[in-house]
Symmetry: C2
Subunit: 417 residues, 2 copies
């Protein structure tokens, strides 16, 4: 099979669907989301049957228990998928927002208006709910989407797609608004990543190796984050009790998410925090790795090396370093940080503001947990992921970030002198 032709076929259909979406109304897109949610609920039996095939095949292929759990659909998870779509209905329409408007001395009125990006590719792994989530966010923002799920979820994803197509059809929208790459061949992903003629954007959702492959091979813009090697710096002005709570939450609430704290920088003049911090974190089951001075202060620190400053543990392990002032903290973050979420705990607001401004991070936090790096916590309602690139969107990517803009220039016959 020629994968380039396959993707071109999907791309052409998506491009037509995208044009017809541009003519649809807010109400029509919301109705489609409601119909999709209803169809997912009504199709529960089919979804469970399809999912059973994937689970059986997965067991045969020896997938781990964790992977089988991610793959599994049950009535609660199916209900959650439908509810997820209904949540998206409630969000304000991100399209046709007038982002800016001004009138030129010659009378030309210029508007900057939010419009869909066009055709978005989403490449993801085992969890089948991403099929509905990603499709819902793209539909809400007026984009056609080409999905490429993991081969282990092929039957589940097709069953979900059927339900989504039913919903789109009920609302009178082109079913090609949501398409699934019909091949499980790895080369199909390669062809998708190179299809800049058809795709305006690719979003990978999954582990580091998937994101890495997408970032390396894509000839299409990518929104993604590879690492979340996040830092907090404890300034001497910090309320130490607050700092302990914030650090404990940032590291241990869910150590495996991309917003989790990975390295703590303690100002030499804030060393008073060390005993309470070590107490709290070890009590929560966190392993501590520290520089030589910290190891000398408390034997519960294991020695940290250069590789610790570079590591995103995604586990209950925290690297801790003493630094000599905010400048040294910023230097450390500039050298080892991944531009995801970094911050400061300090009671001096001017210093905190200046510190945040010097951080080259998508999200800069003052006196709060890094685990707030999340579209829901930002109030975006739903997110398709977090971006750490520097262009278009940074931080949580919600429906607004799935739009671009168009200039509309209204004249009364103006010509340029």
């Amino acid at each position: 099979m020629n994968f380039k032709d396959l993707i071109a076929e999907l791309g052409q259909a998506a491009s037509l669907a995208s044009r017809s979406l541009a003519r649809s109304s807010t109400d029509q897109r919301n109705q489609a989301l409601i119909h999709c949610a209803d169809a997912i609920e009504a199709g529960q039996a089919q979804l469970l049957a399809a999912n059973r095939k994937d689970l059986d095949a997965g067991r045969e292929r020896g997938l781990s228990a964790a992977m089988l759990d991610r793959l599994e659909l049950n009535p609660e998870r199916i209900e959650a998928m439908a509810e997820g779509l209904r949540t998206i209905v409630e969000l304000p329409d991100p399209l046709e927002r007038v982002l800016d408007e001004w009138t030129r001395p010659n009378g030309l009125r210029i508007q900057r208006v939010a419009v869909p990006i066009g055709v978005i590719g989403v490449i993801y792994e085992s969890r089948p709910n991403v099929t509905a989530d990603a499709a819902g966010l793209c539909l809400k923002s007026g984009n056609a989407v080409i999905l490429r799920g993991g081969s282990e979820a092929v039957h589940s994803n097709r069953a979900i797609l059927n339900a989504l197509h039913h919903g789109l059809d009920q609302a009178g929208l082109d079913t090609n608004t949501v398409q699934l790459v019909p091949s499980q061949d790895r080369e199909a992903v390669g062809a998708l990543l190179k299809a800049h003629q058809w795709l305006d954007l690719v979003i990978p959702r999954g582990g580091k190796s998937l994101v890495e492959r997408v970032q390396t091979d894509a000839r299409v813009p990518v929104l993604a984050h590879l690492d979340g090697n996040n830092h907090l710096y404890i300034h001497p002005s910090a309320d130490l009790a607050m700092a302990v709570e914030v650090v404990a939450n940032a590291k241990m609430r869910r150590p495996g998410i991309c917003g989790a704290l990975e390295t703590l920088l303690i100002d030499k003049d804030a060393s008073a925090i060390v005993p309470a911090l070590v107490e709290k974190l070890t009590e929560l089951g966190c392993e501590l790795r520290g520089d030589a001075e910290l190891c000398a202060m408390d034997q519960r620190f294991k020695p940290a090396g250069d590789e610790d400053w570079m590591t995103e543990y995604l586990a209950p392990v925290l690297a801790v370093k003493r630094v000599d002032g905010p400048g040294a903290a910023l230097d450390h973050i500039a050298r080892y940080g991944s531009g995801h979420t970094d911050g400061i705990v300090a009671n001096d607001p001017d210093l905190a503001e200046s510190f945040l401004a010097q951080l080259d991070s998508a999200i800069a936090v003052h006196n709060a947990s890094t685990q707030f790096a999340d579209g829901g916590e930002f109030g975006f309602g739903a997110e398709i992921g977090i971006a750490t690139g520097r262009l278009h969107a940074r931080g949580p990517v919600g429906v607004e970030q799935l739009t671009t803009f168009q200039y509309r220039v209204f004249g009364t016959g103006q010509t340029r002198p």
Copy 2:
């Protein structure tokens, strides 16, 4: 020479300069621009001497008169370069604008604040003034820049760089804020285009072959436009006299710029415009190519073929087609357009608004010349180019478009439940 190492060296220096720029004040950046302008004026003799070397070498290499003209510096052009920098000083600071701000129910205050993109690569051809223009726009927006000018302007560009370094130094800024790739080897450009570790963005300024190469080879985001195959559609409700003036200006004011009109679509029910339009355009020296019906109506039309709908003439030639209603016009533009600037002449405002909303163009115009597709005409003060991609910036790219944003989250000790 290992070009990867060369670019890494420039990249490292740019990255450090970019961090020190992040600590500079608005006033310091503006002072630097003024000092740069002064240094360019003060260095007139050196600039002219360096330019003479380039002109002599160009003549020896047999450059065309047009290319030699683009390459030439004279006192007026040097003065214009200095004045260009002073114009940039007058623009509002694009940095630290609070683009959005809200407070979450848990008390977290979230700001979206404009920050520099980081390190920008600019690749351009003969005109040496781009060296000062691009450096000025990047400096204003807090970005470090790595410039790669054309080999024909190597001495002129170095002389301008010296003046800029003098200005940066006077203002206490890192001179590595503006660097010039010291090699004229084509492979140095290749290495620059692949340096995603160091560059956040590449902007090509030049002819189609340069832009094409950059878009094909870059592993770094690119802001550019390849084609400006622009359309206007004359609706039956149009004021025909206004339409003739707008079309004549859109095509003939400067036929060679990217905002020039290339294809005119006339509604079958607006055919009454044809005689006056043909009269006006032939009088201005414009060649007309039309469909079979137009050729039958007026023998001054030469027959247009499919290739005419695809051609960006950048010359006094206009392709004209009769279409059956706005839908047919939109279909034609969707098929042949390049997403640059397209529009409608119509006296029905609702229809015009709906037409613009269905155009997939960076700039959509109603009752105005397409030649307004320009940063200056938009009120941006200065532009580094026009972008027709869909992400980050579309249309004119001015200093605001050379910024990205950062979320700043201000808490009082919040932890995520």
